[in-house]
């Protein structure tokens, strides 16, 4: 177990090393700290002196080591735009993004497992076919378009009158197809502050209502993938000899589905799905843009637009760290769930 953790740590460090080299290369080539410090008016000779003083003429490796040493202490310098430590800027935006991801993850897990299992158990049922059809359409809709459609339907509202309104049924159908709108779709509202700087949307109904549309649209990208993954794995497991043998033992179908099959289904789903949940952080860039959700993604896009190199680099490092942590956790959970892995890193 300890050896496993150490191995995972090595692995994580390696990944972080690669990410930091890339991040540093970006900073080194694109960022110009002199300009940031002194502005346009200072003559070139003075800049050269400053450059020397700051060690910007040192070899790449030396500069990288300095960068890495600072990075370990979460010191990535100052943001051009906000003029405060980049880590402070990120930390301010982090809760919004994490809450959005958490809400979406909850939606994905709560919906994909029952739907995936159902459509694997009854592959021919019309409801299964419906779910599969919806899921392939879901995969084909870009996440920002889902968000826009949700805004149109539930924030702006749609009133259509394809049916004659004067007849009773026509009016009823028109009402059915029309939506009222009014759901909040801009920003976070007024989140409640808990634990110092952490502001949460989970504390009040009003706060939650701000979370609904962004969370649904962020979930819409992964939910169909998860449903299809769970269904495919479960179908495969249902074909296995041990499920057949369990049937031959005379065990109830429910126990076969939800113990024998589901437990084996979840193993590959954990490895694949866990990583996918991590990548949700990347997709927040899109949803946060549409909903003006004040999270890291929106901040990152803003930083790109304003060429705030230190903030971009910090964002990359922090997101890289989040990915590495989720991947390690996923491996750990997989090792705990799967008895054939003795947590030595290789299957027995």
């Amino acid at each position: 177990m300890i050896a496993f953790l150490i191995k995972r740590l090595f692995h994580a460090l390696l990944v972080m090393f690669v990410i930091s080299v890339i991040a540093f290369a970006i900073q080194d080539n694109l960022g110009d700290p002199i300009q940031q410090m002194v502005g346009q008016s200072v003559p070139e000779s003075e800049r050269a002196v400053l450059r020397e003083e700051l060690g910007l003429n040192d070899p790449f490796a030396v500069q990288y080591l300095r960068f890495a040493a600072n990075a370990v202490q979460f010191d990535f310098g100052y943001s051009y735009v906000f003029n405060e430590p980049t880590t402070d800027v990120i930390l301010r935006h982090l809760p919004a993004t994490l809450e959005l991801v958490a809400a979406s993850t909850f939606l994905i897990i709560a919906l994909s497992i029952p739907i995936g299992v159902y459509s694997a158990i009854r592959p021919r049922a019309w409801l299964s076919r419906f779910f599969m059809g919806v899921s392939i359409i879901g995969i084909s809709i870009p996440v920002f378009l889902t968000a826009i459609v949700l805004i149109q339907l539930f924030a702006i509202g749609v009133s259509v009158t394809p049916f004659p309104a004067d007849t009773g049924w026509g009016g009823w159908l028109n009402d059915l197809l029309s939506t009222e709108g009014g759901m909040p779709a801009y920003g976070r509202g007024d989140p409640v502050a808990v634990f110092g700087t952490w502001e949460t949307n989970f504390a009040s109904l009003k706060g939650l209502s701000y979370l609904v549309l962004p969370a649904i649209s962020l979930a819409s990208i992964m939910l169909p993938l998860f449903i299809r993954l769970i269904r495919a794995e479960m179908l495969e497991v249902m074909q296995s000899e041990y499920v057949k043998f369990a049937r031959a033992k005379g065990i109830s179908l429910r126990r076969i589905y939800f113990l024998h099959a589901l437990k084996n289904t979840m193993l590959p789903v954990i490895t694949v799905g866990g990583v996918q949940i991590g990548t949700l952080v990347a997709y927040t860039i899109l949803t946060e843009t549409v909903f003006q959700w004040p999270g890291m993604g929106l901040m990152f896009l803003d930083a790109i637009e304003r060429s705030d190199i230190p903030l971009i680099v910090t964002y990359l490092m922090i997101v890289g760290l989040i990915f590495v942590i989720t991947n390690t956790l996923v491996d750990l959970i997989y090792g705990l769930v799967n008895p054939t892995v003795k947590l030595t890193g290789k299957p027995a």
Binding site: M1, A3, I6, K7, F10, T344, G345, K346
Partner: protein, 351 residues
């Protein structure tokens, strides 16, 4: 020890001066541990680096004489297939030497091995995987001929293909068709034709009939025997089926956990098996004639070849094992019947 074995081998093989193929102290290990990180183990409060190996074969000495069919038998994991693949150069031995017709071949590059490739060929176990699904039968059979006879005209290549197809009982019109259109037995015929296409003198057959049905097994076995008579072939035949060995082999080597425990002419081995493992193996074959299995019960199962037992590899399951068997690796000794056996019990006259 190795020298002792080889001298016995040399003494008991007086027929020809140089055997067609000889293996000397052949060993093959596969690393189980992946990269550095995966080799780390946590032991006694300390992190240690530990490399694990599968000892697929360890110390095999075998000679194959021209014209004979040497059968290697054993259970799964005994290293018989590894022997075949190492002989064919598909695997590089970890230690030991392989000589073909007096020349060392195990340390040669792909290119330097090419002249030997024409003389030695291989037949595989799984007829469903041994034909390239994207090549026609004609292409499959022409490929080796073109490679080894680049100077031949297309017409001559075609003639050779036609000849070899005829000799294994493949109809000429199979040429433009693909492997998946044929049954298992037919595919195995095609695979045999591919091996025979370059007129080899030595064929390694790795379980060539195990994947086939009983009635098809007989067809393929007949074909292999026919080819041996017509073309004066030498076989190294790998199998787990003793009944096939009795029918097909001129000499038998029994392997257990990467070592040869008994080598003898087929008739001798079946009449008087000396090694306790050979005896157990033979008693385990279900026969049509007798009603009740009178088999020798072995304790436990074959240990994994990762941590080899000390002394005689068979001692853990051997009913006759004693202290010496647990300590000392038995050497090959010649028996009165003309075979060789590696067993302390036989040497001491206990068995």
């Amino acid at each position: 020890m190795t020298t002792a074995t080889s001298s016995i081998n040399a003494a008991s093989a007086p027929q020809t001066a140089t055997p067609l193929l000889s293996m000397r102290g052949l060993e093959k290990r596969f690393s189980l541990s992946g990269d550095f990180l995966e080799q780390l183990k946590f032991k006694g409060g300390k992190l240690v680096r530990e490399q694990e190996h599968v000892h697929a074969i360890n110390g095999v000495d075998l000679d194959i004489q021209r014209g004979e069919a040497l059968c290697v038998v054993g259970e799964s994991g005994c290293g018989k297939s590894t022997v075949a693949r190492t002989v064919m150069g598909l695997l590089r031995p970890s230690a030991g030497e392989i000589h073909y017709d007096g020349e060392r071949i195990d340390d040669r590059s792909t290119k330097a091995l090419l002249p030997f490739r024409r003389r030695m060929q291989m037949i595989f176990q799984n007829p469903y995987a041994s034909l390239n699904p994207r090549m026609t039968i004609q292409q499959t059979l022409e490929e080796p001929i073109r490679l080894h006879h680049p100077d031949w005209s297309p017409a001559r290549v075609k003639d050779q293909v036609a000849e070899v197809m005829d000799s294994v009982g493949i109809a000429a019109d199979w040429g433009p068709r693909y492997g998946h259109e044929f049954s298992g037995g037919q595919r195995q015929r095609i695979a045999i034709a591919r091996a025979l296409a370059v007129n080899p003198e030595f064929i390694v057959a790795d379980e060539p009939i195990s994947a086939l049905d009983v009635s098809i097994q007989a067809q393929v076995l007949n074909l292999l025997m026919e080819a041996q008579q017509k073309r004066n072939l030498t076989y190294l035949f790998i199998t787990h089926d003793l009944a096939v060995v009795e029918h097909f082999g001129t000499r038998v080597a029994v392997m257990y956990l990467g070592r040869v425990c008994e080598v003898a002419p087929t008739a001798t081995l079946f009449a008087t098996p000396r090694h306790p493992y050979t005896q157990a193996l033979m008693s385990a074959i279900p026969r049509l004639e007798d009603d009740r299995p009178q088999h020798i019960r072995l304790e436990g199962e074959v240990p994994t070849p990762v941590r080899l037992p000390s002394g005689c590899v068979f001692h853990g399951r051997c009913p006759h094992a004693n202290e010496r068997c647990r300590r000392e690796v038995p050497a090959m000794i010649a028996t009165d019947e003309g075979g060789q056996v590696a067993c302390h019990g036989v040497e001491e006259g206990r068995i």
